[in-house]
Symmetry: C2
Amino acid sequence: MPNVYEGMSNEELDAAIAQLEAQADELRAQNLKLDMARGKPSQQQTDLSRPMLDLINSSTKLVDEGVAVDNYGSPDGLPSARKLAAEILDVDPANVIVNGSSSVNLMHDLVAHAFTNGVAGNKPFYQQGEVKWLCPAPGYDRHFTITAHLGIKNVPVPMTDEGPDMSVVQRLVEEDPSVKGIWCVPKYSNPTGVVYSDAVVRRFAALQPAAPDFRIYWDNAYAVHTFGDEDTPLMNIFDALRGAGRTDLVYEFGSTAKVTFPSSGIAFVTASPADIADIRKAFAVQHVSPEKFTQLAHVLYLKDLAGVKEHMRKHAALLRPRFDLVEQKLTDGLGDSGVATWTHPTGGYFVSFDGPEGSARRIVKLMADLGVKLTPAGATWPYGKDPHDTNIRLAPTYPAIEDLSKALDVFVVAVRLVSAKLAKESR
Amino acid sequence: MPNVYEGMSNEELDAAIAQLEAQADELRAQNLKLDMARGKPSQQQTDLSRPMLDLINSSTKLVDEGVAVDNYGSPDGLPSARKLAAEILDVDPANVIVNGSSSVNLMHDLVAHAFTNGVAGNKPFYQQGEVKWLCPAPGYDRHFTITAHLGIKNVPVPMTDEGPDMSVVQRLVEEDPSVKGIWCVPKYSNPTGVVYSDAVVRRFAALQPAAPDFRIYWDNAYAVHTFGDEDTPLMNIFDALRGAGRTDLVYEFGSTAKVTFPSSGIAFVTASPADIADIRKAFAVQHVSPEKFTQLAHVLYLKDLAGVKEHMRKHAALLRPRFDLVEQKLTDGLGDSGVATWTHPTGGYFVSFDGPEGSARRIVKLMADLGVKLTPAGATWPYGKDPHDTNIRLAPTYPAIEDLSKALDVFVVAVRLVSAKLAKESR
């Protein structure tokens, strides 16, 4: 669809800008204070898990399959928590470590460990000169920050609507031994909402990395986070690996941060038996043993994968109207403008939005000026550098639905105004 | 006191060995399975904190001084938890970060961060060639493992009965810019039970390190862990620093691992405002935000320092008989032998024992053979290398008191037998 502003005469465009400026002034005068920046569950969502808080009290049996909950020990996590995590990720509990409340923390610690001590007996990264990491973009800013902070060179890889562009991934991974990892959110990807296709998962599993210490960081953060009519299944990458006759290629992560309580859920990692043994050794230095009451509470509350899914349907009921509203407001406000595209996720926490080239920073700045906080433009790219300055991550889960509605109205005006001005400036 | 076995004639010594061998055989036949290896609270001790588990339920107000407990945010920890930690360490809450359940984890992460990214704007350790760390010995094995694992050279420093030998510490810290840190357990030290004297604390505060990125890792693990008639106060090192006109020298750590639940307490770090700002930046990459329900539960249960002290008196009542028993059994069994010395702690979790030169490994091995597990000999020294092979860490807190009594009887026989054999072998 052609850009409506580019198709206007000078007079029409000036009139359109004047009208949009007037709308913006009106919004500015309302002194709004809205936030559509971070992927946070709403209060209604966290309230869903309150019943979990009644399941442990002073008379609870603090033993889990023979393991003491209330003392040191069980460095891999409680047996029952490992089983629950294994069910969520569809893997063998023997290869699962449950530790802490944050999978970002686990990912950080493993990249840091690779940097200081190496992966699977290979040299530490710091002794290997320049090291690179692939970053499908748009992607998750906290991922990119972890590798950048360690001085690892983040290399953007284009995202398609079925996952990262695998011809680019394959070339870089198979030809360049300094490429040591890739960040992936394979299901309901942050921020695009894409679920990697079976073909993409199979190509990941078939990679023949030039570096023996290359690992795929498979952050399955939204494994059970559908809000659509039905779940879009993700192929199990460990099944695909077995199919390809490979091992020792994938670290997979998950957590209940957006199932129960953000920051206070349980986090877990799984990998091949050899990789998990390597991870276990690293963790033995770093940790005494994990916090286990939270693990027990989660097992008592969620029970198993069926219990998790039942619980997630309650989240879906709260999330769906919000994502429907985003779709409706963007379609109504921008559908005929030809200035924007956006994703239509059925799970996860985000909508990925693209405006005209050179628009994203200006839109986010104008939105702030109009009282609506968005994720900083560029955040979805390594080093905050979106090469075309088009992408904005919309996070509709946290605001009250009326606030979200208002924020989206403001967004439509901001996108149109910036797009119109860009059209004028390019004449 | 002279070594009784060295003073014996050959015949007397042979007879003594034969008698001890017979005692050992008798013990071996009992197929004991006792454990005096790790510093773990007993079940009775962890049961003391069970009432804490009744304080959070589904109707609890999940807001702490305006901060949401049940969502992302407050990366430094809950305000009330920071205040509690600050009271325990007698510092300003503004300089406290409460994060996770393990202070060992915090220490690891800060050494690792210094290694990968540097301290206070200085070069990362990995770019500085050989880096050294001072290890007062006997000391805590997990400390030594953290630095050793990162390839940092652990340098032992002698312990005296008022803390590390400060003339050695001062010389190394002030003359060698590759010395970047020192491990300290300043109160009821692991394993000696020593409380650093005011003079030692003042000398630490007055250090003029050759390296700008040198920091004292002040692991105040046993800040409130007295079981004696009265507490032995430790001078506040931040007060001493102010007295010396210094800042940016100390990271202090604490936790409630041995106040409430091991692995499931709260852990905290404090430092100067500039150092805490540096730590905050590092943690911002590593963590999203800390687990906060545990923090809230601790605040509701312990309330303040007075509450902590009241709770610790209950622990003391359980610990004192155990430590009294160690003292009594060792005095009765070895007091007139001239082969051993040991410490007489009034707090903490350990007794540090020294047998004749070359005895420790043999004693620990013989004990294992007789069915009693001890901390591995050498564990209290960097790289597990006790230069005189004399030191054994006794951990009397976990076993039931009858088991402890039995284990100590076995220990007396093992020490005497190994000592007698050493006397014979040296002839």
